[in-house]
């Protein structure tokens, strides 16, 4: 009897060892803590990006006048000067410049950075919302492969754009921009490879109710200063 019991104990022990080594026990609270740590806070990420990481790359912004010249005359060179997310015909740029405010509409400030001063090439987007990925992608600071899913990556743009509206655009409206004034800016733009195939930036693109309509480079402002 004793030997049979011993036999069963040894076999059961071996099975228990096998099962036990293939199963991990953790407390529910420990699991919940791990899940909380993994939850991604896009607003916090965007905040850190804006406060601590973006300022360091703004000095690499390219001159707006030179860049527009490339877009209008040598798009291949312009593409080389931009940043590209994955496989795309759209490229992102950080740019800076100074120009004259030619006109203002709900989309933003129409600014001339090149002669003649009454012909704008850029619209600084100062509307009620910003869409797209210009700031995120032009900065070169956010790696899509660092995120387990692209929803997190997309939320970053959404949160950065909110900061642009709340901290760049809205305060700027209080300074009362006026036609004819000089404005200095740093911003980000997304430009498609065929953007200037038919009309260059600054070229006439038809007629609006308020006057001639121009083909404008859309720039999301990161810094704005009236002079």
């Amino acid at each position: 009897m004793k030997r049979r019991h011993l036999f069963y104990i040894v076999v059961l022990g071996a099975l228990a060892l096998l099962v036990g080594s293939s199963v991990e026990f953790r407390s529910l609270e420990q699991k919940r803590a791990e899940d909380r740590a993994q939850r991604f806070d896009a607003a916090q990420y965007a905040r850190d990006f804006w406060d601590n990481r973006l300022p360091g790359v703004l000095e690499t912004a390219q001159d707006a006048e030179e860049l527009i010249g490339l877009f209008n005359t040598d798009m291949k060179a312009a593409i080389r000067a931009g940043r590209t997310l994955g496989h795309s015909r759209v490229h992102a740029y950080l740019l800076k410049g100074e120009g004259t405010i030619v006109s203002v509409d709900e989309g933003g400030l129409h600014v001339s950075v090149m002669a003649p001063e009454d012909c704008p090439e850029i619209v600084l987007c100062t509307g009620v919302y910003i869409s797209g990925n210009a700031v995120r992608d032009a900065s070169g600071l956010v790696d899509v492969s660092a995120f387990s899913d692209t929803m997190k990556f997309n939320k970053i743009s959404f949160e950065i754009n909110k900061i642009v509206v709340e901290e760049v655009i809205e305060p700027f409206h209080d300074t009362g921009p006026q036609v004819g004034r000089t404005i200095a800016f740093v911003g980000a733009a997304e430009v498609a490879e065929d953007a200037t195939e038919e009309v260059p930036f600054g070229g006439r693109a038809g007629q609006a109710a308020s006057g001639p309509a121009y083909h404008l480079l859309k720039v999301v402002p990161v810094r704005l200063a009236l002079e």
């Binding site: 994955g86 496989h87 929803m151 997309n154 939320k155």
Partner: protein, 317 residues
């Protein structure tokens, strides 16, 4: 007594072999077989994805087997069992579920078989070798901006969503709403899933029209649903009144945009994604190891104004 000792020794031997077998490392790869696993072949867009992946892999010298997951994670998992047992050299994978498909890819990785995702992602960045994905969010930002422009910033609309387990569904809807929700005079009166399915979309649209007969537009998370919605609107005599927007760049919608029936879609590039996946797999098999985990492929807005630049599933180049 001798019999009992024999049973004990046999049991311990079995246990040892079982444990040892479970811990074996990746097997040496001598296979020239590539598996193409597609979420469903019941949608022409995915048939194009499959054909492009298969064609490119065969052109690179591989024997290709196609597995249709029929939108079922369970069926998909079964395919991975077959692929692992069959010692395939690589998997070109279009997942059914961003979360649910992770385990299958992990098992393949454990068996030494590299996986390359196409079009859809899995929500992990440490199991697949590379994931070549449509940039759905950005594509739908552009679509949303055009939607606002066409509706003049006001009106009522319906949204038909795709499969809820697919991250693409969420990315497309989020991209669209990141623009449209900034226009308070644009009101969404209904939002329902039709699972990316044309027939289901037609049924859902018919049902919605009974409650909301006077909508101005419908945004559909893919072209199959756009065609289903359009069919329901046409049956109700409302196809002239309601603008339909899709997403994919499928042949029937490209033709419908050209005919003026559908307003716009987002052109994905299934052939580009599939070919990139096949080429990455080939490079991996030949020894390359540094691949970007996620490669977004841009989606382009196709409208009645620029339709001449596009054909079904791509650009007219």
């Amino acid at each position: 007594m001798a019999k009992k000792v024999f049973v004990l020794v046999t049991a311990l031997l079995f246990v040892t072999l079982w444990v040892g077998g479970c811990r074996k490392g990746p097997q040496p790869d001598a296979s020239r077989k590539v598996a193409v696993v597609i979420s469903t072949l019941n949608n022409p867009w995915f048939v194009v994805l499959k054909d492009a992946a298969k064609g490119r892999a065969e052109a690179l010298g591989y024997e290709v087997d196609v597995f249709d997951s029929q939108n079922s994670p369970a069926t998909e998992a079964g395919h991975f069992d077959t692929i692992i047992d069959g010692k395939y050299a690589a998997i070109l994978f279009n997942p059914t579920d961003a979360e649910g498909s992770i385990a299958s890819v992990r098992r393949a990785k454990g068996a030494g078989i590299p996986t390359f995702c196409m079009d859809r992602e899995i929500s992990a960045n440490d199991v697949a070798i590379s994931q070549i994905l449509s940039d759905n969010f950005t594509g739908c930002v552009a679509l949303g901006e055009y939607f606002v422009e066409k509706l003049g910033g006001k009106g009522t609309y319906v949204e038909l969503l795709g499969l809820l387990g697919d991250n693409n569904t969420r990315n497309r809807s989020d991209g669209f709403h990141s623009v449209v929700d900034n226009h308070p005079e644009l009101k969404m009166v209904a939002q329902q899933t039709a699972d990316f399915d044309r027939t289901k979309a037609m049924e859902v649209m018919e049902s919605i029209l009974q409650a909301h007969p006077d909508i101005d537009a419908v945004f559909c998370g893919n072209d199959a649903m756009a065609m289903g919605a359009y069919r329901a609107l046409a049956t109700a005599g409302k196809d002239e009144q309601v603008m339909v927007f899709g997403f994919d760049g499928a042949k029937d919608v490209i033709d419908a945009i050209r005919a003026g029936d559908i307003v716009a879609t987002g052109m994905q590039f299934p052939k580009t994604m599939a070919q990139m996946a096949a080429e990455s797999a080939d490079q991996y098999i030949k020894g390359k190891r540094d691949f970007p985990q996620k490669v977004p492929v841009a989606v382009e807005l196709v409208t009645q104004e620029n339709i001449d630049k596009y054909i079904a599933y791509g650009r007219d180049e």
